[in-house]
Symmetry: C2
Subunit: 385 residues, 2 copies
């Protein structure tokens, strides 16, 4: 996936995928979705464009600045190009699929557009592939979506996968338990996210020692679970933590070789999450492969259901995979019978048909990047290719 | 592909594809593109959005009214959401792929948006799948794209396929040969398109008898080729017609069972075409499955190359296919081991995992539309499903 060589032709952050990147992306998307489908996640396809308010419902609210807006000449209402697919899934779950039995398993693969790229990620068009499990409160649901994503990523060839599991509801619950007011709790959360020990100590006041201890609750799953015994969670914090422990236990049992890390204070990017959340990484690959977690699926008309799900980011996923194999290309000299070509294609060859008589079929085959050609009815490999 | 049940939630002409339609569309797109790829058409993926002028180059000019426009906050230039993918292919062929050897074979599959639907076709979002063969003048190229599309459509299961081949350059060439001025020729072409014999006779004046004869040059390939002997084409008209005959001959030889019809006066929708053009139909299916033909691939910076290609319209293609088979769904009661599910999925089952202990696994399986369940390690078929 090289960047566009001629930037002036395309707006910043938009690019053409050429060969073989475009075919590779499509193939990987298909294999991921096949995997989700086999676990009962039914594929749906919302439109690229819909009324603005629907795109801004629930977690979509955070994307308000990122939506390209358009006036619909037919309804005179404001529309937006989707910047995320999850709010569309929530709309569909609450409308056309409101009577479908719960749990409702849905998956999708498609492109989204955002108004501005970031410095780290200049792209403005992304391919998202994801799954949502809607109408569920069980810990088994959280474990299922993590395992579904892990299985699919491993299936397409991602190596050294790890999942970082977070619990964005824990710090607010502890703060509430300790009687810290909302505003102070928010500041504290930001300092914890930054891992700024000095600031945490100042903001936490009499609870400084406790929050400093909490700050270190990050590492491998086993380390953190052992360490957390000393943190003595109470009330909601305890029940939230117990759920996390249960999810980690379910995931570990099903995928004993998976690297699981925990970070009990991480909160960034999980502002709308209501429980166990997670990010996927692959060793040596820059960026997140995907992320997800528990949330409230809120539709445009405010139907709310407990849900969990994940989104994979195809640009990072493709970076984590080996380069695609190039198919063997065989040159069919001009006037080769179509049935001969069909027979080769059925065997998996990519055929390149000559459209006119040329003096030297071998030279023509090489010029067209073929590795083989048909000569007198036989397949010949081209030497200097 | 049912229409949205709750129209108020989506703008007119936009719809959600649900299960199993979305999966079916994706599967058919994949199989079509696999077919084109096997004939050397490399998949590429241009972005959904680009600068307006690039979208309006060449044949894109006719779509000016159909493009949703957006201001790019980063470049302050006007962008548009693509209403057609062909102009994007022309841009790529002339820029990043300008040094790739010709003929250049490219294919694509993706969604386009149009500002207004028509009465016949209210949709504003379409899925296009197509192929372009760029840098070619040979008749074998015209035959190849027709055959590639036919093969792919038959491969995915379209029955009773026919191709209507047209030659939009013929009438202008005859008019020029007869010394009819441009404006009169244009009026005549419109009357011919409408098959309005009375009007044709009036407009053609002294050539009335000839054009009335031409008007009847439509029917099966053999009928029209026989009939055309009496039309005695001269000059450019003759050479254009000879090319058409050659293309028909090449297609007939390669696909002797294909129904081919010809219409020598049809011109509608081929305003930008420069030679043999065609439309695909399936018996009993409303609308065109796709269309294409010879054109000049004109990039935004006016690089021009002779080309031919086709676009398939997925909504019509899917209407021409039998309903997709629904995969067998098997219910895995709560706490079924993940490896047992993996084994079933590897055999092609869709598994639905129970997320909590229920009193009656069979009832739960039926509630979740499963046809089978695992009970004591064995697969049981559910009776009343």
């Amino acid at each position: 996936m090289k960047k566009n060589g001629n930037q002036a032709l395309l707006p910043a952050g938009l690019q053409d995928l050429l060969m073989p990147a475009a075919a590779h992306e499509a193939e990987v998307v298909r294999r991921l979705i096949d995997c989700f489908s086999s676990e009962g996640y039914d594929r749906i396809k919302p439109p690229l464009l819909e009324f603005e308010n629907a795109l801004l419902s629930g977690a979509g609210e955070t994307l308000s600045d990122q939506i390209f807006r358009l006036m619909d000449p037919s309804s005179h209402r404001m529309m937006g190009v989707r910047a995320d697919i999850t709010p569309q899934i929530a709309r569909i779950a609450a409308s056309r699929l409101q009577n479908a039995p719960r749990p409702l398993r849905l998956c999708y693969g498609g492109d989204v557009l955002q108004v501005t790229g970031s410095q780290l990620r200049p792209e403005r068009q992304f391919t998202q592939v994801g799954g949502e499990l809607i109408g569920v409160t069980e810990d088994a649901a959280d474990a299922e979506v993590i395992l579904a994503a892990v299985t699919a990523l491993e299936n397409v060839g991602v190596k050294d996968l790890s999942v970082d599991i977070n619990l964005p509801t824990l710090v607010p619950a502890i703060a509430q338990e300790l009687g810290i007011d909302k505003e102070a709790a928010l500041e504290l959360r930001v300092a914890l996210d930054r891992k700024d020990a000095a600031e945490v100590e100042v903001l936490a006041g009499e609870n400084g020692a406790y929050f400093l201890k909490l700050l270190n609750a990050a590492g491998t799953a086993q380390e953190v679970l052992d360490y957390a015994k000393g943190l003595e969670f109470k009330g909601i914090a305890k029940s939230e933590f117990d759920r996390l422990v249960n999810v980690v236990d379910l995931v570990t049992k099903a995928a004993p070789k998976l690297t699981i890390t925990l970070d009990l204070v991480e909160h960034r990017g999980f502002e709308y999450h209501t429980g166990t959340s997670f990010i996927f990484f692959a060793k040596g690959v820059r960026g997140e492969l995907g992320r997800g977690g528990r949330y409230d699926s809120v539709s445009v008309d405010n139907v709310t259901e407990p849900a969990t799900g994940f989104t994979l980011f195809m640009d990072t996923v493709l970076r984590a995979l080996p380069k695609p194999k190039i198919a063997r290309r065989i040159f069919l000299p001009f006037a080769t019978r179509r049935e001969d070509g069909n027979a080769l294609r059925a065997q998996g060859w990519v055929t390149i048909s000559g459209l006119e008589l040329v003096e030297n079929d071998r030279a023509e085959a090489l010029r067209l990047s073929c590795s083989h050609l048909i000569e007198n009815g036989h397949i010949h490999e081209l030497g200097n290719n």
